[in-house]
Amino acid sequence: MIDPVQLYCWHFMSYPHLPADFDEKYDSGWVTVPNKLWDKQRSRGLLNEYIDQLAYADELGFDGMVLNEHHQNIYGLMPSPNIIAAALTQKTKRGKIVVLGNLLPLHANPLRVAEEYAMLDNMSDGRIVAGFAPGSGPETFNYDVSSAKSRDQFWEAVELIRQAWTREGPFAFEGKHYPLRYVNPWPQPTQSPHPQIWIPGARSRDTLTQIAKNGYCYFLSSRSHGRETGKSVQRFADVLKAHGDTYLPRRMGILMSTYVGETDAIAQEESREGIWYFLRNCLKGHQRRVGRQLTFGPGVPYIPPNEFREYLKNSDPTTPLLGDTQDWSDLQRSQSIIVGSPDTVYQRFMDVLEHAPVGHLLIQFHMGNMPDECARKSQRLFWNEVAPRLKEATGKKYSEMFDNESTRQVETAK
């Protein structure tokens, strides 16, 4: 039997109190967005409201909650996702707590991440999923990390943490970036041998190879979904095969956003303000052509020159990004933010999963300045009216697609 798709509630924890003319007056929502815009009075209780939305998802029955790390922007108010994760270990009892992920090159000593994840795994009784990300874009400006060096630092840090959880300590780690004489962390994680490791990637074959070789889970860090998502699954399956492994849905996850209402019209009406706040403000400096995005390009040179040359040859710098979305029909085409009735949302999610059979669907419900009651309502409708159908359909479909593969794998293992 193959598990049906696992459904997670994702939160960015964006800043919701920007002035109405933010887009006209400010160049970016990232790195340089002036923090005088932070309204201390109106922001009281904000992080707790967001934490409670995640705890509500756990109450409803979601398979997990997803956190992420961002710095000095209005897009994500979680510079330390581990602090939010610590709160969730106390507020929730059931679902996985996925931290996707700690940005390893930003740490002077990534051993600290091994220690904190181990603490969280103990505090949550083994519910932590350990995500790691390189943070080679805007974060390099926030934390003064060389983009060119960040990938090498990242993979060394991942290896240090993996060893810290699996090798008997104390041992010496002969790292280039993080040489350590005594690696011997206490506590050790609750899960054995260690929490699942998830790593985001987009187009780099090197990243896929590392993920495949080490048995990690691949999170496709692309915002838009269509044919390309299916191709990404195929690419990852090919890399796994080249390493004597087999693709199964549990090895891969994607991020989508949704708003579920009773009808398509109600859903649009209730989500309009939050979605456009998210697209125009939160994505400014990240996924919009207007202004200056710092996520990928010549100023954040983290890929080798030959790969950049290929990118130059095969890309058009004027192609609109998600944040450039003009209207609802435009949004519809992006396959990134799905808005509608339970029927519509079920159908559109299945359209993606038909071509991209992934095991982990990470779903953003709260967008921009969406009111608490709307975010909760959308989570509730999704869980009660969309999730059961997604579970049933994917359970059946994935078993048809992959059962032989998994049986074969088990037999080989014997």
Binding site: T140, F141, D152, Q293, L294, G297, P298, G299, R309
Partner: protein
């Protein structure tokens, strides 16, 4: 990847310690090594520019490309300024250069200064043009990395303004056009910013805090040249170099030019350097 680039230019290659270093060479006489910057040979252009041609009329000009640039092999991942200095020691040895003049522009000027304070006996004359490398409190080297990210995905106006006298200067438009530029030139630009990220992103940006106190070791005749409108490296850095290098005399400011003064005022800058070489 560089074979296509090689065919179009006069690049030569030298092998040293298992790595290849590409360079351009022109002229005869005493050897002068030129370490490039951003808007420069290897930084964007595939061949010598008028400034280099003029220098080559009076000296044997040798311009190697930095690690990872224009076909020069990368250093191992995670390298810094010291590794770049050793990279050039290997190059000097491979080329049989015991003593030589050394000229550097922007980030290349920084590496030139690092070499001069360590091996003053080998560097006969030192020329710096809009050089990074120093820390001057309150006078920060501008964020070339952020400004290398185009606005609206296509607009390099602020980068052009940082490197040239204005965003609309003809040479600025020629080498940093909006939208997609020439594929080879864009690749060279990328390789140069990547080199800069390796040696100079941390601390922000492109300096070594210890360098200023070491400048006194470089007592050779020197010239420090700055574009009047340099918006990349504040002129205070030029003043600090001129004050720290006992052989430098006064800072020479080139009217009408930006950071890439050697491109925008090739004759004026070359004349200063040719005077220096005669000393």
């Amino acid at each position: 990847m560089t074979s296509a680039v090689l065919e179009k230019t006069n690049l030569k290659m030298v092998e040293t310690n298992g790595r290849s270093i590409s360079y351009l060479e022109k002229g005869t006489g005493a050897p002068t090594v030129y370490l490039h910057g951003f808007a420069d040979v290897h930084g964007v252009a595939g061949d010598f520019l008028p400034f280099h041609d003029k220098l080559a009329s009076a000296t044997r000009l040798i311009a190697p490309a930095h690690p990872g640039c224009s076909g020069t092999a990368d250093l191992s991942e995670g390298y810094g300024p010291d590794d770049a200095v050793f990279h050039y020691l290997e190059f000097f040895d491979a080329m049989g250069l015991k003593e030589f003049n050394l000229i550097g522009q922007s980030a290349g000027g920084w590496i030139a200064a690092e070499i001069a304070v360590r091996y003053p006996e080998r560097v006969k004359k030192l020329g710096l043009i809009g050089a990074t490398g120093l820390f001057v409190s309150g006078e920060h080297i501008a964020d070339i990395f952020m400004h290398t990210q185009p606005e609206r995905g296509i607009d390099y106006a602020t980068l052009r303004e940082m490197l040239f006298s204005s965003a609309d200067a003809p040479l600025a438009r020629r080498y940093y056009p909006n939208g997609r530029g020439d594929l080879d030139e864009e690749t060279r630009r990328y390789e140069m910013i990547r080199f800069a990220s390796f040696v100079g992103f941390k601390p922000p940006y492109l300096y070594n805090r210890s360098l200023v106190s070491r400048l006194h070791r470089a007592k050779m005749p020197a010239a420090v040249v700055w574009g009047e409108h340099d918006r990349f490296v504040p002129r205070a850095h030029g003043e600090a170099y001129a004050a720290g290098l006992s052989g430098a005399g006064k800072l020479k400011v080139i009217a009408g030019a930006g950071n890439a003064a050697q491109m925008e005022a090739p004759d004026a800058v070359a004349d200063i350097m040719l005077d220096l070489l005669k000393k």
